[in-house]
């Protein structure tokens, strides 16, 4: 049976059937708990879209009331609606690490995460590591020249931050084993290792 509200009605899967799947159900649940979203009285998954839907995203400690299409990735919303362009579009999947953000304390690829699935979660982008008092990881990247063209650098900085949050006393060996999710074409890996080690040693600039 064709769902009249399915997005294009031509595919083999109706949108409703898809949303009943487990991962989408989790997304819908997360959406339902978000501020500004109408909460259904029963536990049936709520169907949103295809048109843009209101959602509140908490990014870098601030709530943003947004309207997003359910198919939009977090990366698209960050870059196009909020002009937070630190996370970069490099790969179609999560294999480059360039779009790494921190969601509820864990690193995640913003380009493979649906924006609506982020309602009610705390999103941290690379921009939160800058400003007047930059994060020691950013400072260590500068001091150790952990960048060349710099296009992969924001994603790398976020990954190193997340990795060191979990492994604050990481050894060089652990750093070389644990930071393979980010791709750099210019070849800054040697510098990134030095930067991460400097943060472990508590060395900030000065």
């Amino acid at each position: 049976m064709k769902d009249p509200r399915s997005y294009n009605g031509t595919g083999g899967h109706s949108r409703r059937a898809f949303l009943k799947g487990t991962s989408a159900a989790a997304a819908a649940t997360a959406l339902a708990t978000g501020a500004g979203a109408a909460v259904a009285a029963d536990v049936k998954p709520r169907i949103v879209g295809p048109e843009a839907t209101p959602v509140t995203l908490n990014i870098n400690g601030k709530d943003y009331e947004l309207k997003v299409e359910p198919r939009m990735t977090l990366l698209e919303v960050l870059r196009w609606q909020l002009d937070l362009t630190g996370a970069k579009p490099v790969s179609v999947d999560a294999s480059s690490g360039a779009a790494t953000v921190i969601i509820d304390g864990k690193p995640a690829a913003a380009n493979t995460t649906l924006a609506v699935a982020c309602a009610g979660k705390k999103i941290q982008t690379v921009e939160s590591l800058g400003g007047a008092k930059p994060d020691p990881v950013a400072t260590a990247f500068v001091h150790n020249d952990g960048m060349q063209c710099g296009f992969c650098t924001p994603g790398f900085v976020v990954s190193v931050r997340a990795f060191l949050d979990k492994n604050p006393k990481a050894t060089e060996q652990e750093i070389r084993a644990g930071l393979n999710s980010n791709l750099c074409r210019c070849g800054t890996y040697a510098n990134v290792v030095m930067a991460a080690l400097e943060v472990v040693k508590g060395g900030t600039r000065g």
């Binding site: 870059r79 002009d83 179609v92 952990g146 710099g150 084993a177």
Partner: protein
């Protein structure tokens, strides 16, 4: 002797030049504040994407975009090819869709109907016989140099045949080798493209480019405007490596669409289109016979190499065969193979990495054959180097060997101790590159309040161009780095060269030093008048302009600048290569050594240690220079062990044109890298040379040689994937 008009401080006397400096835009890059072309979002900007042709060779019958234009959110869709056009590689853009969101544009691209007529496909660039059969192999030239002259009445080709056979027969050792290196792509992490916006008749193109000063006219001509009406802007570029000198058809189209629609348009290529169409380097495969005396000194070289430049003829130049070494007798033949793949673009040190990988491997096999230490064989062949740098190589080899602990670690090829199935090995290679400053200018502005601005139409590929300019200006004026504002990245600034071929740092250094020295001379005239001293006795140091050796007899920088009155002092720095009194030079050497571990059971090669010793004339910022060498080495490790373009011979499809499938090294794959900047006074006094290409050349050959030393078997074609390592071992067992 009259004092040269322009000069660098004597080695060891500079305040800033030669000191380790953080890149001035480092924090902007590290925290996402740096805006790349992909990141620039003017109000109302639309997104555009290009559809790559799914077929490798076909004739266009029709491209119907009408269904795409009906997709909600799509604003416009246009075909980029006409019926009858021949498409010669998969991924060549055939249509563009412009829309409000990523989703709308993606749906629009899917709705395009493409009708075509298939044409014959050929992509097997390593298979010379197949290329000849498919009529894809063409003449590529060749030449012969022999110590002995042909008798006057002799047939030269026949004489060369006989002479080469004689020389090979007289050699103590002869190696008949086969070597090669596959096509790799540029894989710029920021794809090619631009964000274009119009203000009336004026276009601003935020273009991801290595060529800020040279691309305005590339927009202007096809758009029917003049170059003065175009501003090309690029503060940050996410990788170029030689592939981003052109505006490209999709760049012009982005500007045209922005004009037609009346809204800014951002057109960046998708990853697969980027890899399939926007940059790769030629492959090279070689059959060679090489003969040497008992000490490993090569006396005769006879080779035939081939490879592909993609859909246009070309390939690895014969001038790099054999590489750096120029034996007394050599014959080289070249064949070019046309394939259904995108034409290549300049790739960091065009020709050189392939030339090095196709010939210094053969030199290493001579060492293996004679049971000699490869170091000694390279050393003994240095008298034949074609670039007059024998002494530099000798000195750099000594430094590198010490850093690698070569002599202690060396074992004959295939004779090292094994730890289980793991064997280790050493290999080396040497390289050369020209570089040097191209013509260019800069504008130096000193404001009456003491502010200093230096503006150049250059770009920072990631080498730290801004920082270099900043350091030189601060050095000349005796100011701290933060007192100088550097403006680059706009075609409205004085023209600089494109960044390709290791010319940027030398070029901007010439222009900046000249401009700032002239500017200071002018300011000193005012100060001299004010203090009633000879202005030529004045120096700028530590924030003051004062009589040399009399720090108290002078003015602070601010006091000096206040003498300018109401308007800033503007001075243009200019550099032409024909000028005398150069602050830059060209030609470098460079020596690299690799240590690897190879697991004979799995075929996996692991980098253990890599040493790079590099001369580059005068070094402005050692930190930036060191980073650039680390990066070049890592790129070389990538070509040696990981990356390759994989084509389907049946369909001509580029099978691994996504990041997940196109293997590149990760942080854990590169091992320990040791960089040594070679800068004795003789190098420093040459002035600035440039560094982008040279250290990217040797790694592939050095690593191949290290694997051959570990295994006692040559893995002929790079990258040395586990499959190829196991195949080479199997072949050796069967032999």
């Amino acid at each position: 002797m009259a004092k040269a008009k322009y000069s660098w401080p004597k080695q060891g006397t500079a305040a800033i030049i030669g000191t380790q400096q953080d890149r001035v835009d480092g924090m902007a890059k590290a925290t996402g504040a740096a805006k790349y072309s992909y990141d620039i979002n003017p109000p109302n900007v639309l997104l555009a994407r290009a559809l790559g042709c799914p077929h490798a060779h076909c004739s266009v019958k029709s491209i119907d975009v009408s269904a795409a234009e009906k997709v909600p959110g799509v604003v416009k869709a246009v075909a980029m090819k006409k019926p009858g056009n021949e498409i010669r590689w998969q991924g060549d853009p055939i249509a563009v869709v412009v829309g409000e969101t990523e989703g709308a544009v993606a749906e629009g691209l899917k709705a395009i109907k493409f009708d075509y007529e298939a044409m014959p496909i050929f992509v097997e660039d390593e298979d010379l016989a197949a290329a000849e059969k498919a009529d894809r192999a063409g003449g590529g030239g060749g030449n012969t140099q022999l110590e002995k002259e042909a008798p006057e009445d002799a047939d030269e080709a026949k004489f060369a045949d006989q002479e080469i056979e004689r020389l090979l027969k007289d050699s103590a050792a002869v190696v008949e080798g086969y070597y090669g290196i596959d096509v790799i792509t540029h894989m710029c992490l920021e794809p090619h493209g631009s964000t274009c916006e119009w203000d009336g008749k004026k276009l601003t193109a935020h273009l991801s480019t290595q060529n800020v000063s040279g691309t305005a006219s590339q927009f202007a001509d096809p758009l029917g405007i003049t170059a003065d009406e175009v501003t090309v802007h690029c503060d940050y570029i996410g990788g170029g490596f030689g592939s981003k000198f052109q505006v490209d058809s999709w760049g012009v189209l982005a500007a045209q669409l922005a004009k037609d629609i009346g809204r800014p348009v951002k057109l960046m290529l998708d990853r697969d289109v980027e890899l399939k169409t926007a940059g790769c380097r030629p492959s090279g495969y070689i059959k060679v016979r090489i003969g040497a005396d008992k000490d490993g000194v090569v006396n005769v070289w006879d080779s035939h190499h081939w490879g592909t430049n993609g859909a246009t003829p070309g390939g690895v130049d014969q001038g790099v065969i054999p590489y750096v070494f120029n034996p007394k007798n050599r014959r080289r033949k070249r064949t070019t193979i046309v394939t259904n793949a995108s034409p290549t673009r300049a790739w960091r040190a065009p020709n050189h990495p392939q030339g090095c990988a196709m010939s210094q491997t053969a030199y290493d096999d001579i060492a293996a054959k004679l049971g000699l230490d490869s170091y000694d064989v390279f050393l003994r062949n240095l008298p034949s180097v074609a670039n007059n740098k024998q002494e530099v190589y000798e000195a750099e080899m000594k430094v590198a060997a010490k850093l690698m602990d070569w002599k202690a670690k060396w074992h004959a090829h295939g004779k090292g101790p094994a730890k289980g199935s793991v064997v280790s090995g050493l290999g080396m290679a040497i390289h050369t590159w020209g570089g040097g400053g191209q013509a260019g200018g800069c504008l130096v502005k000193i404001h009456p309040d003491g502010g200093v601005e230096v503006s150049l139409g250059s770009q920072d590929l990631g080498t730290g161009t801004r920082t270099v300019i900043n350091m030189i200006a601060a050095e000349t004026f005796g100011l701290p780095l933060e007192s100088v504002t550097v403006n680059i990245g706009s075609s409205k600034y004085p023209r600089s060269s494109a960044s390709g071929g290791s010319v940027t740092v030398a070029g901007v250094s010439e222009a900046t030093r000249r401009g700032t020295q002239d500017s200071l001379t002018k300011l000193c005239e005012l100060v001299g008048k004010k203090l009633d001293v000879d202005p030529t006795t004045l120096v700028a140091s530590k924030g003051r302009i004062h009589v040399a050796d009399q720090a108290d007899k002078g003015l602070t920088w601010k006091e000096a600048c206040s003498l300018l009155g109401m308007s800033p002092q503007e001075v243009k720095g200019e550099f032409q290569r024909a000028d005398d009194n150069h602050l830059s030079s060209s030609q470098v050497g460079g020596v690299q050594m690799a240590e690897v571990e190879v697991d004979k059971d799995t075929g996996v090669v692991r980098m253990k240690k890599f040493v790079a010793v590099q001369d580059m004339g005068l070094i402005i910022n050692p930190r930036g220079a060191t980073s650039q060498i680390y990066g070049a080495v890592i790129m070389g490790i990538s070509a040696a062990l990981y990356e390759q373009r994989i084509m389907d011979p049946k369909t001509g499809a580029f099978l691994n044109a996504e990041i997940a499938d196109y293997k590149l090294p990760r942080l854990g794959d590169v091992g320990e890298i040791v960089v040594e900047l070679y800068q004795p006074e003789s190098e420093y006094n040459r002035g600035v040379v440039g560094l982008g290409e040279p250290p990217a050349i040797s790694p592939a050959a050095a690593i191949s040689n290290a694997v051959a030393n570990a295994l006692g078997v040559r893995v002929p074609v790079l990258p040395m994937t586990p499959k190829r390592v196991l195949e080479a071992l199997q072949k050796a067992r069967n032999a």
